[in-house]
């Protein structure tokens, strides 16, 4: 019996090895990436795997129905979207490295913040590559903060901008007349309407951003952002103390008295849709108009931001160090930074993400393409958002602030 099993396994493994041997990937090691024509030639007819979070049907559809056909037409590159959480992607890359697997299946990765810091520090990324991408050279201001720093981490050409995001709040104008314009006003409104607000529990992405947004109004945000990596716990705790104090004051007026928080932002958003909450938070700047358009928000819903601003970040694409198709990945990065794709991505009915191209580098016709995008009902225009945009804190502080929140806020 044992022998039978062994034989079967051995036979199957042998078949696998043979199959694997036949399917030799295109040799991308010899391409001179600085020669764009050579990159185009090497990329032609290949497939690029694009790994990233797959929890939004809008974003999935944008990649499948807009980016993929564009890449096929312009570069003859097939984009295969692979939905996978970033933790898992990093695990796989680390696993590949541990197993000396030079032939990984991951090409392009949607990434930012502390995950980028981890991946870059562990040597999991290919780069620097931005200088090879023509549309990066043409449209991105390489000196701008979003092209040089990602959550305070030096980018150094290891990731190319994908989208700009900014935290916005949603409210329903039929239930409250005027939205709060500051953290203090939000607290006041919650006090008058107990149980009608909550936020995703950090380290959830949006909830964590909300907490940083509160820190912006309650603490010395600039001093906080200047704290060095490896700052001692006592100093960090003291620096964020006013913010934690504010959140504890908010607690009794939250849903479930602040003893517990929704595990995902979509849960909190669903509670807003069901009328259980007065406000919802999103890191998608045009979330409100997308949701009104698909009927999930009432037409009376609208977006607002605090006068002191809301946090914004840029998300990026990076290339795996063991990618088998670096020329193809470079083409997709180039497609992402093209004017038609950035304009299509801005449309709330297809995604609603702010473009990353520098407006100084755009021609008038190109600018018109962006201003022609209908941002839909209830959303704030791009210039209003950008005027009230504050930078994210350094990546190394984010998980530590999340840990402090967990200790000091829920149920306190």
């Amino acid at each position: 019996m044992k022998r039978v099993l062994k034989t079967v396994c051995a036979a199957l493994l042998l078949c696998a090895l043979l199959l694997q041997g036949c399917a030799k990937p295109k040799d991308s090691a010899r391409v001179d990436y600085a020669d764009w024509e050579a990159v185009l030639r090497a990329a032609k007819g290949t497939t690029v795997t694009f790994y990233g979070w797959g929890g939004s049907d809008l974003i999935n559809a944008w990649i499948d129905q807009q980016l993929a056909p564009y890449c096929k037409t312009v570069y003859d590159v097939t984009v295969e979207r692979v939905p996978m959480d970033i933790d898992m992607i990093l695990n796989r890359l680390i696993g590949d490295k541990a197993a000396d697997n030079a032939a990984g299946g991951i090409d392009l990765i949607w990434i930012n913040g502390e995950n980028f810091a981890t991946a870059k520090d562990s040597g999991l990324l290919f780069g620097p590559f931005c200088q090879y991408v023509p549309n990066y050279e043409r449209y991105v201001d390489a000196q701008s903060e979003e092209a040089t720093l990602d959550f305070g981490m030096a980018i150094e050409g290891y990731e190319a901008p994908y989208s700009n995001a900014q935290l916005v709040f949603s409210y329903d104008s039929s239930s409250i007349s005027a939205p709060p314009t500051s953290a203090q006003a939000l607290l006041e409104l919650c006090r008058q309407n107990p149980g009608k607000f909550t936020y995703e529990a950090p380290p959830g992405f949006t909830g964590s951003a909300f907490v940083r947004n509160i820190l912006n109004e309650t603490c010395d945000y600039a001093a906080l952002a200047a704290l060095p990596e490896g700052v001692d716990d006592a100093t960090l705790r003291a620096a964020v103390q006013p913010g934690m104090e504010f959140l504890r004051q908010l607690n009794p007026y939250l849903w479930e008295g602040g003893a517990t928080f929704p595990a995902t932002n979509a849960q909190a958003d669903a509670m807003f849709m069901d009328g259980q909450l007065l406000f919802s938070i999103s890191y998608d700047p045009y979330h409100v108009s997308s949701m009104i358009a698909n009927g999930q928000y009432p037409a009376t819903a609208a977006a607002f931001v605090f006068d002191a601003g809301t946090v914004g970040n840029t998300n990026y694409v990076a290339i795996a160090d063991n990618s088998q198709n670096i020329p193809g990945a470079l083409c997709v990065a180039d497609a992402i930074l093209s004017v038609p794709m950035q304009a299509a991505k801005m449309d709330p009915s297809s995604w609603g993400a702010l473009p990353v191209l520098s407006s100084d580098k755009l021609s008038q016709e190109e600018k018109d393409l962006f201003s022609a995008v209908p941002i839909g009902e209830g959303a704030l225009p791009q210039d209003v958002l950008l005027a009230r945009r504050i930078a994210e804190l350094p990546a190394y502080l984010v998980p530590r602030i999340e840990a402090i929140w967990l200790e000091e806020v829920p149920g306190k």
């Binding site: 019996m1 044992k2 039978v4 099993l5 079967v8 396994c9 199957l12 493994l13 078949c15 696998a16 090895l17 199959l19 694997q20 795997t49 790994y51 979070w53 797959g54 929890g55 939004s56 049907d57 499948d64 295969e80 692979v82 939905p83 996978m84 959480d85 898992m88 796989r92 696993g95 590949d96 541990a98 197993a99 697997n101 299946g105 991951i106 995902t264 932002n265 979509a266 849960q267 958003d269 669903a270 849709m273 069901d274 009328g275 259980q276 698909n294 009927g295 999930q296 928000y297 009432p298």
Partner: protein
């Protein structure tokens, strides 16, 4: 009374599924409105996408393949464990249970490293092998019980009447074991169809199964899409299970006399 209980049980199973179907088309349902305030076909449209249909079909293929192979492997294994004594039999039993007993994350990470070295990571073959490992304990243990209750006496009678070992097994024991084989294959299918984490680790996202489309929507909490995809998931699993069950019923109608009536 029994009928009431039956209806209650049916309601307990069907009501959540019905609610799932309702959530799959309702966009806004604010409390305390008794009915949804707006409906949307967003969930259904996402389901009808050609890629989604393709993934569903290939997913059914992988799971059926893994389940069938598992049953084929389990059959001789169960026979050996039931009827033969060999060195290390107890250790073998423990090893066969290991995929259930070991913490799955540890098991999966080991598999991932092993498969990476073997070069079958990111392949359908790797995913099916991994699924077979997870499924195997179930058919082996079920078939062991079945083998022991069927016994070998009738097969021995056939042997004394001159049948070859293979013919004795295929003509006498196999028909008695077939219903059990069909049910464990159906069970194996369900186990494989529901694997998410393992498929993702071994298939690297390249081998797409239906569970991989459903889970991101559930994790992100998109109620309409998770409801629509979960409903389709239940429907697909239920249909395959139902077909197998129908095959089993059809077969057991023409089943040879049971052991009791022979003895």
């Amino acid at each position: 009374m029994r009928r009431v209980m039956l209806w209650l049980c049916a309601a307990a199973v069907l009501l959540p599924v019905a609610l799932l179907a309702l959530y799959a088309v309702c966009a806004r349902w604010p409390w305390p409105a008794p009915l949804p305030q707006s409906l949307s076909l967003r969930g259904i449209q996402a389901l009808l996408n050609a890629d989604v249909r393709g993934t569903l079909l290939s997913s059914i293929g992988y799971s059926l393949g893994s389940a069938l192979l598992s049953t084929l492997i389990a059959l001789p294994a169960a026979r050996a464990i039931s009827f033969y004594n060999f060195a290390g039999k107890r250790a073998m039993r423990a090893v066969l249970l290991a995929p259930i007993l070991l913490p799955s994350t540890a098991f999966f990470i080991g598999l991932q490293t092993l498969f990476t070295r073997l070069g079958i990571i990111n392949t359908a073959l790797g995913v099916m092998l991994a699924h077979i490992m997870v499924i195997l304990p179930y058919p082996i243990w079920t078939l062991c019980d079945m083998m022991q209750s069927v016994g070998r006496t009738m097969e021995e009678q056939a042997r004394t009447l001159g049948a070859s070992p293979l013919r004795a097994f295929s003509a006498v024991s196999m028909p008695l074991l077939l219903p059990a084989c069909v049910s464990v294959t159906a069970l194996g299918f369900l186990i494989s169809f529901g694997q998410y984490f393992l498929t993702l680790m071994i298939g690297g996202g390249r081998v797409k199964t239906f569970a991989m489309l459903v889970v991101p929507y559930i994790q992100s909490g998109d109620r309409m899409l998770s409801a629509a995809f979960s409903f389709a998931f239940i429907l697909a699993a239920g249909t395959v299970y139902g077909v197998m069950d129908a095959v089993l019923r059809k077969h057991s109608g023409a089943r040879p006399p049971t052991r009791g009536s022979l003895v």
